[in-house]
């Protein structure tokens, strides 16, 4: 070809190159996903990137009021905060001790959760344990509830005289729990472990179900005993899932605030999230920024580790990962001990905490189980001795206002999150500009790494004052809704991408080749076909938004009180009955929402983890 027409080919390469560039540009610009992607970038630039950048900048820029200390004008670059956090006389107190505490607490609870979760998952999937289907949903309950719920239950039972407020059950029953049991690292580790065990159970159960049964059978044919099969075949195949679970737990444990706040502070036990909270509430925003940046860094590291394990997992799953029914292994004489163990875990992680919370709201004196001590006053009574909250939780206007605020704000945020997630999925799957999709993916994942408290601080500093056409948002519902949207985007965009991947290209292409324009295709084909994913991508953020505490605790004002902030306010007042009652209501909403998601959309809970 080139030999035949050398003249023509050589005379116009420049113009042809230019025109073919024009052709490519035309295709990219005309693709609807391009415009959509650019719009989404703007939205997330505002909701996610700007706050994160302002947060990180806060670590190296002199804040207002710190001019004298830093010896420079507000806004100029400074190493003052870094210096103060990393190498000053107070570094140990405000940084190194909390950091070490965070690390060893996370590690301990991670190990305990794995040690508990893996055998239980195996019992649930591979053996003839009685009622294993029931257990496999019942044991997940702790994961669906906020971790600090369990902290409240713990203090209700083990509180001692070292702190003011009502006495604990143990105390009433005549035994004063020692300090190490009532507050500090031990209860925190116990609660983290109980909270994370369901997570391990879910992930490992899923991985076990996806292991082809033939692998085990092949080993059996080769003469391996059940123990050999477990240690030599199953466990090595589960390794990626286990490591991935471990890193995700680690990342979550770093950001968790409520538990350490309830159980750590009374004993002066600090972790990173509580020092962060302290530096925020004492207006040391530069220090807060440095600590937050460290937390983001730790989250980032665990994420990178997780990605590594995921890649390894992909190498494993090249075998056809089709779920096959595996014959369950009879437990024989171990059946009863196994049942006792699983039942015990259920009792400790679900029955006792929830039962304690519920009971604590209907007992006048904690821990006194005589009949006349029970009352419904804290729920429906009037003129209670608690000043400022003198009515039962169910008849108090404050509860209903907080409930209504929670429902409509979280609901609206969840709906926006679900829709935005699908649109992100659309751009990722369809855009001819691959970079656009990648950028969106990365940006929407960022909030996962930022602790809720730090994110809230960034929002506060960015949106508290009017900026350009946007008015000051502090004290409005808007700022709460925006931050909830941003915070749930990591999950929503993942759900959106997988929904769009599952939908595939062909359905839309078929409509396109039959002459349908973009908006028409979106309306008649794409959205109807992903509506169940949309629904679950809305409900799950709703469930987690309802229990969210650290994200909203410094942004909510009396006018925009939510259920979670109301319960914290009540705790600060020492009104345990009311606080626990509000928490019980939150749990009820969360469980109902989860149950509805599963029933209505048969969505897999394991997909929503993270």
């Amino acid at each position: 070809m080139a030999l035949l027409t050398p003249q023509r080919e050589r005379s116009t390469p420049a113009t042809e190159e230019k025109n073919s560039l024009g052709y490519r540009t035309k295709i990219i610009l005309r693709h609807p996903a391009t415009l959509l992607g650019v719009l989404l970038l703007l939205v997330f630039g505002y909701l996610i990137v700007a706050p994160v950048i302002s947060l990180l900048l806060g670590a190296v820029q002199v804040g207002f009021g710190d001019e004298a200390k830093a010896g420079a004008g507000a806004g100029s670059l400074t190493g003052y905060y870094l210096d103060r956090v990393f190498s000053s006389p107070v570094s140990d107190i405000i940084f190194y001790t909390p950091l070490l505490n965070t690390l060893w607490i996370s590690l301990c609870s991670m190990v305990i959760a794995l040690a508990l979760g893996v055998p239980v998952a195996w019992l649930l999937v591979r053996t003839d344990l009685p009622a294993r289907r029931w257990f496999s949903s019942a044991l997940i309950v702790p994961y669906m509830l906020p971790a600090w719920t369990f902290a409240l239950a713990w203090t209700t039972i083990f509180r001692n005289r070292s702190n003011a407020g009502q006495q604990g059950w143990m105390e009433t029953l005549g035994w004063e729990p020692p300090n190490w049991l009532a507050y500090g690292p031990v209860p925190i580790i116990v609660i983290f472990s109980l909270h994370f065990t369901p997570f391990v159970i879910l992930l490992v159960t899923n991985a076990l179900k996806n292991l082809p049964g033939q692998l085990d059978e092949a080993a059996r044919i080769c003469g391996a005993s059940s123990q050999q099969r477990w240690w030599r075949i199953t466990l090595p195949l589960l390794r990626p899932a286990l490591l991935s679970a471990a890193t995700l737990m680690f990342a979550k444990a770093i950001g968790e605030f409520g538990v350490a706040y309830v159980l750590g502070l009374p004993a002066g036990f600090q972790v990173l999230s509580t020092t962060l909270h302290q530096s925020i509430s004492t207006q040391q925003s530069g220090i807060a920024a440095v600590i937050a940046a460290v937390m983001v860094g730790l989250g980032g590291i665990s994420l990178l580790v997780d990605l590594r394990f995921l890649r390894e997992a992909k190498r494993f799953t090249t075998l056809n990962g089709k779920a096959t029914l595996t014959k369950t292994q009879p437990l024989a004489r171990w059946r009863t001990p196994a049942l006792v163990m699983v039942g015990g875990l259920f009792t400790i992680s679900v029955l006792i905490p929830l039962g304690t919370l519920v009971l604590s709201t209907i007992m006048r004196v904690p821990g006194d189980f005589s009949l006349q001590n029970f009352t419904a006053d804290y729920w429906i009574g009037h003129d209670l001795p608690t000043v400022g909250f003198s009515q039962g939780v169910l008849v108090s206007a404050a509860t209903w206002r907080a409930m209504w605020n929670t429902l409509w704000m979280v609901g609206l945020a969840a709906l926006c999150t679900g829709l935005l997630g699908l649109l992100v999925g659309y751009v990722v799957v369809r855009s001819p500009l691959r970079q656009l999709g990648t950028a969106l993916r990365v940006i929407t994942f960022m909030p996962y790494l930022v602790p809720g408290l730090a994110f809230a601080v960034a929002y506060l500093s960015l949106f508290a004052v009017p900026r350009g056409p946007i008015p000051a948002l502090y004290g409005t519902a808007t700022i709460l809704i925006l931050i909830m949207i941003a915070d749930e985007m990591p999950f929503a965009s993942r759900a959106g991408v997988s929904a769009m991947m599952q939908l595939g290209l062909e359905s839309e292409e078929a409509a396109q080749s039959l002459g349908a324009k973009f908006s028409y295709r979106l309306r008649t084909v794409v959205l109807p076909m992903v509506r169940s994913s949309l629904a679950s991508a809305t409900l799950l953020p709703f469930v987690s938004g309802v229990q969210g505490l650290s994200l909203v605790i410094i942004l909510a004002t009396p006018g925009t009180e939510l259920m979670t902030t109301l319960s914290m306010t009540l705790i600060d007042f020492g009104y345990t009955h009311a606080a626990n009652a509000v928490v019980v209501l939150i749990c009820a909403i969360a469980l109902l929402g989860t149950w509805a998601t599963q029933k209505l959309f048969r969505s897999n809970l394991a997909d929503s983890l993270g």
Binding site: N19, R434, A510, S513, K517
Partner: protein
Amino acid sequence: MEPMITLRGLGKTYSGNHTPSVDSVDLEVQLGEFLCLLGPSGCGKSTTLRMIAGLEHPSTGQIVVGGTVFDDVAGGQCVPAERRSLGLVFQNYALWPHLNVKENVGFAPRVQKLSKAERATLVDQALQTLAISELAERYPGELSGGQQQRVAIARTLAARPQVMLLDEPLSNLDARLRLEMRAEFQRLHRQTGNTMVFVTHDQFEAMTLATRIVVMDQGRIQQVGTPSEIYDSPANRFVAEFMGSPPMNIIELGHNQAADTWMKSRDSAATSLGIRPEDLEITTTPTPGKFSLPVTVSALLPTGGSWIIELTDGQQRYFATSQQRPALTEGQQVQAVAQKLHLFDASGQRRTNVEAVAA
């Protein structure tokens, strides 16, 4: 007459790939033709089809359909897929599960903003043509594979496309249905007179359906011709070996004594020769004037109605076929006599003076 579809220098290189998936394809499809793009998977046939449909965009070249320039990379011109009025039938049918058969088929008429009466007529016609009127109210999930296939075709028909494009339309059906649908396609083509372009990797499908076949490999067109042209005079070794089952027996010259002796002084440019299995006749003695190979019968494979005879000369295997039960036993020494030979030169191109050699 102006061809219905013209492809000029069409090429497609996916980003990240060095070699093009489709490489300077030139092709003309006439009005009313039933053209088949045939080739192994990954040869660029589906990409070519999707570029015509406008779902992929070429990196070089031009696509002209019905006198309209659809793509012209050098000229910077592109008509979006939804404005091409071509019908595409997908390999997996791509029926919309939330719409019933009637709504699926009525989609294009609705998009074209036709009146209610016109829409109803078009849908009814399309359903009747495919003989699925009784399925109108069902949802895709309630249909068998063959029925889904018919709905997908009806949906495309109702759009009244100027060209129908079919992407491996039969590959998801079982053997019996495939036969049935093949006849259906033939009838449909006769009945509607539509220009149809379809993609397949199945040579039998191509042979039975197409008026012309385009054989592709590694993004390039290897040969264009009628089914019998392609089968009887393959342009090169790729086409020769791809068409036919069992495949053509190829003998590399320079390693096989019988072949070297036979070829000496006949055609010095040929480097390999090929014999279709059905052109190998098994006899006990060599036939004078014909190329014969001394071989041993190594296996007799009945395929139901015909037999495949596996032969060996100690160096390589050969296949012959027979319509009658062969009166041979394994291990028997026989002569395989070529009734027809194909010669190929060093670049794999077919030598055109073969008949003279074989006679």
